[in-house]
């Protein structure tokens, strides 16, 4: 599997070169959010706001009134938890183009509950005018910025950092509202987002080898959610759908799917994997995904539960799955 390091750090600097209206704002987490090269290369466009996120969000709103586009960088919890009133009233109400990059989504940090953003999608989704993206791999981190800028209004991005896998082909950039169809089949549907897609890819490969056919969607635009193809796939599936998210199952991807199914009147079963109404704690990503039940083996168990079939998949089989950058199937009929 191809792994890239500090993708955002290098990409942002290159991308922002000819965009003088783009300012970067930091709340004392400049290296941690990969904006240190930007700070060094464009000091005149780097606004240090200190550990004072409420003020930072409202200042950002003021900057947009004068034509600037602030790119807020901090840990996600300090955007939507610490400064929710400011996000809601200074930014979202006025539909201002403040672009918020929230790092450490879900259990991607061993920093414990104070640093783990587990209900951000639920809260941000409830805000009118808000657009929500989530990055799942290096290709999405590299190609999301044009879309972030193109949205006429505020955008919240669940951002990943450090060493990140490349799951999607470099030539298939992030596109607003376009769900990536990674596998097509008729038995079950798996819908995943963020870091869970890497796990789901392993599961899908293993399940397929046992003769079960699976449709797998990766979602990177959580709001506005484009449900059409997914709903059709779920309606046509034999056993139903599994959602996998690095977030509480209340208000995130699983809820989004449930709402879309209910609205479309699709009478299928839905298993929601993710944090089951519990706070996580400080431990490694791998450990926590196992503990809270949304890693590859947990998805296998869900597929067995949904289909009533014993697939007999072992940990070793999941480990052997070699992940190569994937192409999205544009249309199910192409397969």
């Amino acid at each position: 599997m191809e792994v890239s390091s500090r993708v955002h750090a290098y990409n942002l600097v290159k991308w922002a070169k000819d965009k003088p209206q783009v300012l970067v704002m930091s709340a004392d987490l400049t290296s941690s959010t990969e904006i240190d090269i930007f700070r060094d290369d464009y000091p005149e466009r780097f606004i240090s706001a200190g550990i004072a996120e409420q003020n930072m969000l409202s200042v950002a709103a003021g900057l947009t009134r004068e034509g600037f586009i602030p790119f807020i960088h901090t840990f996600a919890v300090f955007i939507y938890r610490r400064a929710y009133d400011q996000v809601a009233m200074s930014v979202a109400y006025s539909n201002l183009p403040v672009k918020m990059f929230g790092f450490l989504p879900g259990i991607t940090t061993p920093g414990g509950a104070t640093h783990q953003a587990i209900e951000d999608v639920a809260l941000m989704r409830a805000l009118p005018n808000m657009t929500i993206f989530e990055c799942g791999d290096a290709t999405e981190v590299e190609t999301i910025l044009d879309s972030v800028l193109a949205v006429n209004g505020p955008v919240y991005v669940r951002m990943i950092r450090g060493d990140i896998p490349r799951l999607f082909d470099k030539n298939e950039p992030f596109v607003i509202g376009k769900n990536r169809l990674l596998s097509f089949g008729t038995d079950i549907v798996i819908v995943s987002s963020g870091i869970c897609t890497e796990e789901a890819i392993k599961t899908v490969a293993a399940i397929k080898s046992k003769g079960m056919s699976v449709t797998h969607y990766h979602i990177s635009t959580l709001k506005p959610f484009n449900s059409k193809d997914i709903i059709d796939s779920i309606a046509q599936s034999k056993y139903g759908v599994i959602s996998v998210e690095n977030h509480t199952v209340m208000g995130g991807l699983g809820t989004i799917i449930a709402e879309a199914m209910a609205e479309a009147g699709v009478p299928k079963k839905l298993l929601k994997l993710g944090l089951q109404d519990k706070f996580p704690h400080g431990a490694s990503k791998k450990y926590l995904m196992r503990e809270y039940g949304f890693d590859a083996i947990a998805i296998v168990a869900a597929a067995e539960k949904l289909s009533g079939k014993n697939l007999g998949i072992t940990e070793a089989e999941l480990k052997q799955v070699d992940i190569k950058p994937m192409h999205s199937h544009l249309k199910a009929e192409d397969l």
């Binding site: 606004i47 947009t64 004068e66």
Partner: protein, 313 residues
């Protein structure tokens, strides 16, 4: 307005603010009357003498509510148009406590920026002249009802003007109660750090908040020492004296610090009858016909020119 008579103009406008807000409070059996009493001279002096705003030749009639902002709402506007163009050389005015909306509307009428009958739409369904205004309301351009957020937003505007090397200043009207809010101090910290000496913050220090006396509810004093420690150039003035209110701007020398004017005011200035409400001044409601008649009497006195001299109450 002729500059030689600016003090008289300030007094005339301030008197008009109190009269209009009192009249409105009587007609609606309630209103933010004490805010008019305490801030009339501050707002009046800012609009008449201090701020460099584009002249408005014909008073603007407030438009109906355009719908909330959104990517697809092309009809949307802010109330900033009542303060004129946002061209680089002009100053900006940001009202922070949206509860002073009625006072600002009255001020806009008195200074020829808003049509007199615009106030007829106050708190009416479908109107932009809202009770606790927002960015679509006359004279406002940011959403400011969640207290403590507008100063930071103004700091963003001031920083942007610095980055663009624009000469216009940013004036903020702040209430003293907002100095209890953590974000306000985050904002002052930011403003000083980024040396936003294009910011002028007038604080209406009337000493009262919703629950009553500030020193009993949550003391914020000594404000001058706290603000100086946060890097501001602080002036303590008598907020019903136009000359004192003008002085900090008149003698301004840019030195990388924001200017804060602590305008010490009375919540019953110009309407002594209001003293009976002590210590609850936040929202005034007439409790009986008898009380209402006393205020009607007061209003009639104010309508007869020359009897009440603001600044002497």
């Amino acid at each position: 307005m002729a500059d030689i008579n600016w003090q008289n103009n300030v007094k005339k406008v301030a008197k008009g603010i109190r009269r209009r807000v009192l009249e409105h409070t009587i007609n609606c059996n309630g209103g933010y009357l004490s805010q008019a009493c305490s801030s009339a001279e501050t707002l009046s002096t800012l609009y008449v003498k201090i701020m460099n705003l584009e002249h408005i030749s014909t008073p603007i009639m407030p438009r109906p509510f355009p719908g909330v902002p959104g990517a697809n709402n092309k009809a949307y506007f802010t109330g900033g148009e009542f303060n004129g163009s946002h061209a680089p050389q002009y100053d900006r005015f940001i009202l922070s406590p949206a509860h002073y909306a009625l006072v600002l509307y009255a001020c806009l009428i008195e200074t020829g920026r808003m049509h007199e009958s615009g106030l007829d739409y106050f708190n009416k369904d479908g109107s932009s002249v809202e009770m606790i205004g927002a960015e679509h309301s006359p004279g406002m351009e940011v959403t400011n009802g969640s207290l403590g957020q507008a100063l930071s937003q103004a700091a963003g505007i001031a920083l942007a003007k610095k980055l663009k090397k624009e000469s216009g200043k940013v004036f903020v009207f702040l209430s003293d109660g907002e100095l209890q809010i953590g974000q306000t101090w985050e904002a002052f910290q930011f403003i000083s750090h980024w040396k936003l000496d294009n910011m002028f913050i007038y604080v209406d220090v009337n000493g009262y908040q919703c629950d009553g006396i500030m020193t009993e509810t949550m003391n914020v004093e000594p404000l001058d020492k706290k603000l100086e420690a946060f890097g501001a150039k602080v002036y303590k003035v008598y907020g019903h004296n136009p000359e004192e209110l003008v002085k900090p701007v008149a003698e301004f020398i840019p030195e990388g610090r924001p200017t804060v004017v602590l305008a010490s005011t009375n919540p019953f200035e110009g309407i002594p009858l209001l003293k009976n409400n002590a210590p609850k001044y936040h929202y005034v409601r007439m409790k009986s016909e008898q009380e209402k008649n006393l205020y009607i009497n007061e209003l009639n006195k104010m309508k007869a020119p020359g009897l009440i001299i603001p600044g002497m109450g």
